[in-house]
Symmetry: C2
Subunit: 169 residues, 2 copies
């Protein structure tokens, strides 16, 4: 009886609730909405948080590279970086080798805010990992990384992660 | 030597590339961007496609319910539904029981376009499932559904999926 019900429920699920792209978007939206509330409590907007987080991993990224990593159009990123510079969170400097290229660096204040938010993000993430179990989380991260690799989310010709070594400061 | 390199790469991965919320957003963005290109080729905008897809599963949904399922603010959804009505893709009707409530139905033209796009979406999805293997895909869908359930992505008090049965037509 219960099995029959479960079967009927699965059948009546239709397209959307079993469609991978929908499930990815809905899962991403639901957990991100929770954390974004905290981001805004720090007086930051979501794209500003994304930029801070990306710079924490690698300070002094070029605008082009940062746009790919922060999942933003370059024109939008440039505008937000300008606003963050006005707020004293980042500073822009021309690249030493190629003066036409702009690199973005955290200020002390930006670094401090980023550190606090990354700690909160790790806390929030730990709660989700606990819920779905560490094993399923590890498998989830693994398959998501595969999808990103295959579908170009982090690809950017000519700017591998280590390209900045010895390139600034 | 190769192991050492892999280890260094993992260590240098930092926060973002191992952060679950980032991986979800990046994976979702990368596969969705591909399909959204096809959506636009049909002269549709992405939120319009989302609404069509949700109505394919259950025609005549109420605006409130549709907004939750289509991952949109209600005010935004209302505006887009209005535009879709102007294009002849959907029609709005007041609920039989509660005249203040608006239900959204596909027109024949909307149904036709939705059917074609759902078929394309299933094709595109099948390609991704093949790449990451059906087993990993099933596990992925399962864990994403768990996250959505736990974090409220599809929750909506008083409007379970079957509430419409016998409620219209």
């Amino acid at each position: 009886m219960l099995d029959q019900r479960a079967e009927n429920a699965a059948e009546s699920q239709g397209f959307v609730r079993d469609y991978l792209l929908y499930l990815l978007a809905a899962a991403s939206d639901s957990v991100s909405a929770e954390f974004h509330t905290r981001v805004r409590e720090h007086g930051l907007r979501v794209p500003e948080w994304r930029i801070l987080a990306c710079l924490t991993d690698e300070d002094g990224q070029m605008v082009t590279q940062l746009a790919v990593l922060a999942l933003m159009e370059q024109s939008r990123l440039t505008k937000i970086v300008d606003q963050m510079a006005d707020k004293g969170l980042v500073k822009r400097r021309n690249d030493n080798r190629d003066r036409r290229r702009v690199r973005v660096f955290l200020t002390a204040r930006g670094q401090d805010l980023a550190d606090r938010l990354v700690a909160e993000a790790r806390d929030h993430e730990a709660g989700i990992i606990d819920q779905i179990t560490p094993e399923r989380s590890a498998a989830l991260k693994d398959v998501l990384s595969t999808i990103i690799e295959l579908h170009g989310g982090m690809k950017q010709p000519g700017t591998p992660a280590k390209v900045l070594e010895g390139d600034h400061e």
